[in-house]
C-alpha cells in the first residue's frame, strides 16, 4: 500500500503542477516583434477645411462603444456667418467616416463603407449643404485618411486613394472610375524605390493640375510626396533638414489651400515623434518647413488647415497647437475644451474648437492673445441610435 501511496503522491504532484500551470499561470504578453518601421500614426477623419462656401468641419458623434452607433457629422459655418449648422448629407449611413474634397462652391463627400457595405458612395453639394446629389460611387473602400479624396478646382477631376492602395480617378460626371496608379506600382518607380514606399496616405493636386500623392517611406529622412508629371511619377517632397535626416517621415496630410500646397509630416516614432508643416507656393518645386514640434508622447487626434495655410492640430491631453505659415513658430493654444474633435480657423484670427459630447456639439472660440475659450454655440444632433444595427 505504501508504494501505492507514493505513486499517488507523485501523481498528485504532477497533476497539481499541471493544474497550476493551466489555471494559475500569469498571462505573459507576447514578445514584441522586431520591426523595421514602427506603424505610422494614423490621422483621424475629424478635420475642418475652408472653401469659398464657408468653413466645413467633420466630427464623429454618438459616443458609443459600438461603432455602428457612432455617426459622422458634417457642419458648415457659411462664409460671412458666425453660426455653424448641421448639414450631414442624408440617405446614406456614414458610420465608416466622411472624407471631404472641395473646390470653389462644390464640396464632395465620400462615405467610407462600414459593416456589410464594401464600396464608397459619393455625394455633392453646391449649395453649402442645403441640397445634395448623389454621384456614382467608388467601387471599393476608400482609405481611412482625411485626404483620401481630392478634387482639382480647375478641371473638377477627382482622385481617390483606396484602402487597397490603389489610386483611382474620375472626370466630371464621375460615372467612370479608372486606376491612376497603386502603391505597388508607385513603389516600383525610381522615386518610389528611393523612398521605399510603404503606404499611400493622401492625394491632392498642384495648382498646375498635377496629381500629388503622399505616403510613408521606409527610407529615413525621405518625405514621400510624388507628382504625376505627364505619366511619370517624380519625387516632389521637401528636402528634410539634417536634424531629422535619420528620422522616419510620414505624410499625414497633403492638401491645397487658397494659395499653396500644405503638408503635415511626422518625423521619428514613439515618444520622439515631431510634427513638421511644409508649405509650397510653386507646385511643390520648393518647400518651406516649420520648426519641428516634439509631441513628447502625445498623439495627434486631428489636423486641419485654414485658407491661408495655417495648420491647427489637436493632441491628446486636451492640447492644441497652431502655426500660421512659413517662418512662424508653433503656438500653444489654451487648454482645449474637453471632447474637442477638431479645430477650425475662425474670423479675425480666431480659432474655433468643436467639442463633442455624445449628441451635442459645442463650439468654443479663442481669440489671439486671450488665454481662455469662450462658448459660442451649441448644436444638438438628432442621432438615430441603432439605425445601423
Amino acid at each position: 500500500m505504501n508504494r501505492q501511496i507514493h505513486r499517488a503522491l507523485a501523481l498528485t504532484a504532477v497533476v497539481a503542477g499541471a493544474m497550476l500551470a493551466a489555471g494559475c499561470g500569469t498571462a505573459v504578453p507576447p514578445a514584441s516583434r522586431q520591426s523595421t518601421r514602427a506603424a505610422p500614426p494614423t490621422p483621424s477623419l475629424d478635420t475642418s477645411l475652408v472653401t469659398a462656401a464657408g468653413t466645413w468641419a467633420v466630427a464623429v458623434m454618438g459616443g458609443s462603444a459600438a461603432r455602428h452607433n457612432n455617426f459622422w457629422q458634417l457642419f458648415i459655418r457659411p462664409g460671412g456667418s458666425t453660426r455653424w449648422k448641421l448639414v450631414t448629407p442624408p440617405g446614406t449611413a456614414d458610420n465608416g467616416g466622411l472624407v471631404l474634397a472641395a473646390a470653389g462652391q462644390s464640396l464632395i463627400t465620400a462615405f467610407r463603407p462600414s459593416q456589410n457595405l464594401t464600396f464608397t458612395p459619393l455625394t455633392e453639394t453646391r449649395t453649402a449643404g442645403q441640397a445634395w446629389s448623389a454621384l456614382s460611387p467608388v467601387g471599393a473602400a476608400m482609405a481611412s485618411a482625411p485626404d483620401a479624396l481630392a478634387m482639382d478646382p480647375a478641371s473638377g477631376r477627382l482622385l481617390a486613394v483606396l484602402a487597397s492602395g490603389t489610386v483611382t480617378q474620375a472626370a466630371p460626371g464621375y460615372s467612370t472610375w479608372t486606376t491612376l496608379t497603386s502603391r505597388r506600382f508607385l513603389a516600383a518607380t525610381p522615386p518610389g524605390r528611393h523612398c521605399g514606399l510603404q503606404a499611400l496616405t493622401a492625394a491632392s493636386f498642384t495648382w498646375s493640375r498635377t496629381p500629388l500623392l503622399g505616403g510613408t517611406c521606409a527610407r529615413p529622412g525621405t518625405a514621400g510626396i510624388f507628382a504625376d508629371a505627364h505619366g511619370t511619377w517624380q519625387a516632389a517632397g521637401p528636402a528634410i533638414p539634417a536634424p531629422l535626416a535619420r528620422q522616419d517621415i510620414t505624410v499625414l496630410r497633403l492638401t491645397r489651400t487658397a494659395q499653396q500646397t500644405v503638408a503635415l509630416l511626422t518625423a521619428g516614432s514613439g515618444s520622439a515623434t515631431s510634427l513638421v508643416t511644409a508649405w509650397s507656393a510653386d507646385n511643390c518645386a520648393h518647400w518651406t518647413l516649420s520648426p519641428p514640434f516634439p509631441l513628447h508622447g502625445a498623439a495627434l487626434t486631428s489636423a486641419s488647415f485654414g485658407a491661408d495655410g495655417t495648420a491647427a492640430v489637436v493632441l491628446t491631453g486636451d492640447q492644441g497647437e497652431t502655426i500660421t505659415g512659413p517662418g512662424q513658430r508653433w503656438r500653444k493654444l489654451p487648454v482645449l475644451p474637453p471632447g474637442t474633435a477638431t479645430l477650425a480657423a475662425g474670423p479675425q484670427g480666431a480659432i474655433s474648437a468643436l467639442a463633442v459630447h455624445r449628441t451635442r456639439l459645442t463650439i468654443w472660440q479663442a481669440f489671439p492673445g486671450r488665454a481662455t475659450w469662450t462658448k459660442a454655440q451649441s448644436i444638438s444632433v438628432p442621432i438615430q441610435f441603432e439605425s445601423s444595427s
Binding site: F71, P90, A93, N116, F119, S175, S387
Partner: protein
Amino acid sequence: MPGMNTGLNANDPAVIAAFKAVLLHQGLIALLIFGTLGLAWVSIRAWLPAAASDGPGTKTGTPAPAVAEPAWRLLLRTGFGILWLLDGILQAQPQMAIGLPSQVIEPTAVSSPPWVQHVVNWAGTSWSYHPLQAGAAAVWIQAGIGIWMHAAVRGPLSRLAGLASAAWGLVVWVFGESFGGIFAPGLTWLFGAPGAVLIYVVAGALIALPERAWRTRRLGWLTVAGFGVFLTGMAVLQAWPGRGFWQGTAHGQPGTLAGMTQSMAPTPQPHFLSAWVSAFTAFDQAHGFAVNLFAVVGLAVIGALFLSGQPRLIRPAVIAFTVLCLADWVLIEDIGAFGGLGTDPNSMIPMALLAAAGYLALTRAPAPAAEPASPAVPAGGWASRLRAAAAPRSLAAASIRSVAAAWAIGLIILGAAPMAAAQANPVADPILAQAIGGSSAPANYPAPPFSLTDQHGRNVTLASLHGKVALLTFLDDTCTTTCPLEAQEFRLAGQLLGTQARHVELVAINANPVDYQLGYIRAFDRQERLGGIPNWLYLTGSPAQLRPVWARYGVTAQILPAGSMIGHSEIAFVIDQNGHVRQEMNFDPGPGTAATQSSFAAELADAARQLLGRP
C-alpha cells in the same frame, strides 16, 4: 460568438410549438416501436413456448449471473441512468431548441481560449441550423441512454450502454460544456470543474469494463486514488492567491465566489432556494476568508484520506465528501438546473455518486468466481442469432429487460438519425425564417404594376414578367446591414430552385430615394456577386418613379437624419405566373447569421416551388 445567436428569442412561440410537435411526433413513433417490440415479444413467446422456457438470458447476450452485479456497478448504472433520464427531460424544455447555443453553449465557451471557442462554435452553429432536430435528438439520445442503462443489467448490452454513455458524454463535454471550462481561467471545483459530463464519461467507461475487472479491489483503489489526486490538486488551486476566492468582497465588489452566487440568487427558482443562496452569498461576503479556508482544508483533507488507501479512513472521507458536494450543489451550483436554461443537475451529484461507487468497489469487491461467468455470446455465436430463422427464437428467449434495452437503442436511433440527416443539409430549417418574420401571409390579388430600369439599363415592367414566378423585394443599395443579407437570401433561393430557377425571376426594387442611380445598383450587384445571375433583376428609377411603386406595395422608405441609412420596410412578395401576389413575407433576417439567411432562402424557394408545382 459568430453563428450561435440567430437573434431569435428562446421563447419564440413558433419555434416552441414546432419543437413540441417534433417531440410529440417522435414520441408517438417511440411508443409505436415499444408497442411493436412488446407485442412481438409476447406473441413469439406464446408461439414458441419452448424457446421462452429456455429462460431469459442464456441465448440473449444477458447471461444469468455467475457473480451478482457488484454494488458499485449497480450504483453507477442506476445513478447515472437516472441522471441521463433527467438530462433528457431537461433537454425537452421548450426553450432548449433555440436557447441552447446562445444561452448554454456560448456562455460556457466565452472565457475559453479561441481554439476552444472555434470548436464549440462549430457545434453551436450546426445546432442553430436545425434546432428542432438537434433539440429532439438530444432528448431521445439522453433518455435512450438512461433507459438502456437501467434495462441492461449485465453482458455486452450493458457494457455497450456504458460505452454509449461515455461516448455521448464526451460529445456533450466537448461541445456543450467547452471541455468543462478546464482551459478557461478561474477553474475551481466549487463551480463544477472539470465539468459534470466528464464524470458521466468516467462512469460510463467503468460500466463498460468487462466482468473480470469487477472481481478485484484494484478498480476501487484506482477510482478513489484518482479522486484523491483530483481533490488535492483542486485544493491547491483553491488556495492559490489572486483568484478572488479569499476575499468575500474587494473594493466594494463581491469576491469571486460571492459574485457567482449573487448572480444565481435572482434567477427563477423556488423561494426557499433563492433565500438559501442569498444567505450563503451574504455569509461569504462577510467571511470570505473563512469560507475559502474551509473549502481548501476540506478538499485537501478529503483528497489525502482518499489517497491513504485505508477503507476505515476513506469511509468518513466519502461521507464528508458527499456532504460537501450536497452543500455546494445547493448553495453554489443552485441545484444545477436552476439559474438559466439547465441541461443537467451539474457536477456535484455525479461526483458524489462516483466517489461512493469507488468506495464500494474498494470495500465490497465480489470474490473471484469459481468458474467463468456464462458466456456473453450464445453458443451459436452472434452470426447464428442474426440468421432470420433464428431471430424469433432469440426474441422469444429474450428477457423483458433485453426488449427494453433494444427499445432504448431504438430511441437513440430515433433521435440521432433525423439529426444526422438534417446536418447533411446545408440549408437551415425554414422555421427560423418563420420565427423571425412570422408566418407568411397567403394572398391573392393583382400585383401592383411598375415600369422601372434594371441594372443593364433595360426597361422592366410587371407585365414583362408574365408567365414566370417572381420573388420580389425592396432593397436599399447603400444599406450597410440587412439588405446585403437579403440579397444573398434571394441568391441562395435561386440556387435551391435548381433547374426550376429558369421559371423564376428574382426581383429587387431600389428602396433608396437618394442613391438611386444605376451606378449604385451596379455597385451593389458587384458587391453581392449578383451580376452573373441570369434571373436577377435589380430595378431602379428616379424618386418620382420609385415613390408610387413603394406606395402601391405598401413599402415605406424614410430619409433619416444625421448619417443614418434609409429606413425602409423589409418585405418580400411571391407573385405567380399571372401577376397575382400569392404570399407576403416579413423579410428582416435580424442579426443575419448564415443559418437565418439560408432559412429565409429555403422559405422563398418553397414558396416558388408551390406555384411551379414540385418536380
